[in-house]
Amino acid sequence: MSNNQQPNNPKLNLWRDVRFWRFAGQFLAVLIAAIVVAILWGNLNRNLQQLGIQPGFGFLNSQAAFDIGETLISYAPSDTYSRALLVGLVNSLRVMVVGIILTTIVGITAGIARLSDNWLVRKLALVYVEIFRNTPLLLQLLFWYFAVFLTLPKVENPISVLGFIRLSQNGLELPGIQFSPEFSTLLIGITLYTGAFIAEIVRGGIQSVSRGQWEAAASLGLKPGLAMRLVIFPQALRVIIPPLTSQYLNLAKNSSLAVAIGYPDIYLVASTTFNQTGRAVEVMLLIMTIYLTISLIISLVMNLFNKSVQLKER
């Protein structure tokens, strides 16, 4: 591709000219893609016609007629599909935001614990990471929901942890807030699962900071805790943030597993909508748009954050 130095030679055969091949190659790629899309599109139209479905988003304004167990904004089955989807989106965003905050705390704690000079703490963190990383999240969610939350005592005599957290079949209760068992399960599940991955990222990040930094901090009279906070961790963040971003993206995407335990997130509401209306294409486009937008927003925010912690040279 580098030997196009003699473009002005009029005797050059067309097939010896790299520019021709570049053009032909791209043209061919577009042509093949267009043909494939056209064939698929034709099939789609034919199949939809057989099913008697008129494509279009008009159905969003008709009555949803299904109930949603958990809503942050007002909703009734007589509302429209678009309202139902909005309720699902709000539910999704709620679990994502709270999950990202909690999993960061869990992950950083476990990551630092992996490097603790306390043998027991180190080993416990290792056991946590290896158990949660190496089993499927879906299975963990099913376990938390069916084997833990649904076997908890009735709401009249809840188990109380540390005096202010109450656990019962009605979910998790903090002073002033009540979380449903579905929300609590999903939150605990994705927090612990993602936290195990973040712990490994944090551990790797801290280990990537050279040993001299610890020694320099110590020689300045900083205690290990302060050295970690002021010297090591800010430098480790540069290594940590890019893979951390992809863990946040995973958490956001994994929240769609809510469908397995019946938490009404956007995916569950969308697939209910599909089951009722049969509108596969529209529902799929909606799911795609929403998740891509969320992914994009997380990436943008994390990139901004990443820029602020990167080394500024000159």
Binding site: G25, A29, F146, S256
Partner: protein
Amino acid sequence: MNQPEIDNVPSAVRLSPLGWLRKNLFNTWYNSLLTIGCFWIFYQILRNFLSWAFTNAKWAVVQANFRLFLVGRYPVSQSWRIWIVFGILAIMAGLSWAAIAHKLPSKLNRWLPWIWVIVFAIICWLIGGGSGLTPVSTNLWNGLLLTIFTTIISIGLSFPLGILLALGRQSTLPVVRWFSILYIEIIRGLPLIGILFMAQVMLPLVLPSEIRLDRVLRAIAGLVLFSAAYMAENVRGGLQAVPRGQVEAARSLGFNTLLILLFIVLPQALRAVIPAIVGQFIGLFKDTSLLSLFALVELTGISRSILAQPQFLGRYAEVYLFVGLIYWVFCYSMSLASRGLEKELDVGKT
């Protein structure tokens, strides 16, 4: 990766048990508090778990359904075929390991990919039957068998696709590059469950009505589409790790672009990404559990149908712990193998 541990003890120092305790558990007052606190929590969890496991738990659900977990409703009279398949897989895994670690004669090495392809066809024939063997329809391939089968076939098929996408993303042709980027980024922005939904619902719609793919095939199609995007990103990492000088040297020897790619760039790039691909394999192995949401009866799916048996109603904890143990053993041993491989290849720092 192999940074010195901060609390490295010179190997010559031997501590007495009491000294070890003091050094590792009670060196400062807050560490002592931490040790006692952690030990208490650990003890509580362990005690509750053990007392549950030996008194309340009814492990009969696992004993009675052991076969279902492993191969599902695959006909008992035909199960010798599955054992042969697992034997072949074990041999092939060993061979591949040896090949990657350069312990095989190079001739065998070169033929290994083709041996895999042939072996794969034999495996499909052994499981599915036909031409001499009793055919077994795909809805009888359940349990761990289906989990392993879908994982291997999905990784195998997404491998060439991923390489093509990675090359496309590096291409100097803008159209090809943008196609690849668009595909990779869209797929990576979507949850797997959405892609499986697409494969189950959309695939029949966009294919001509004469072609009817069965549920397993549609699920595999979804997994391949999903996995290819991630594979492409892994391979791209490897491609970027090949120094420019390699390409320039090959060009000055008169190789053309295709030959450079096949004999110079790809072998080096793929070698560098083997650990990442093993990581992806582990991820996919776990992700196949999502197939249970689409009425496939793989390991997670079969545990749901086992839990629906009237005599084992409500035995969630036993079943899910056992299934979790199976997943864990596979994933953990693969991650150990991958770590060993990384050392063997010395490519940990890609």
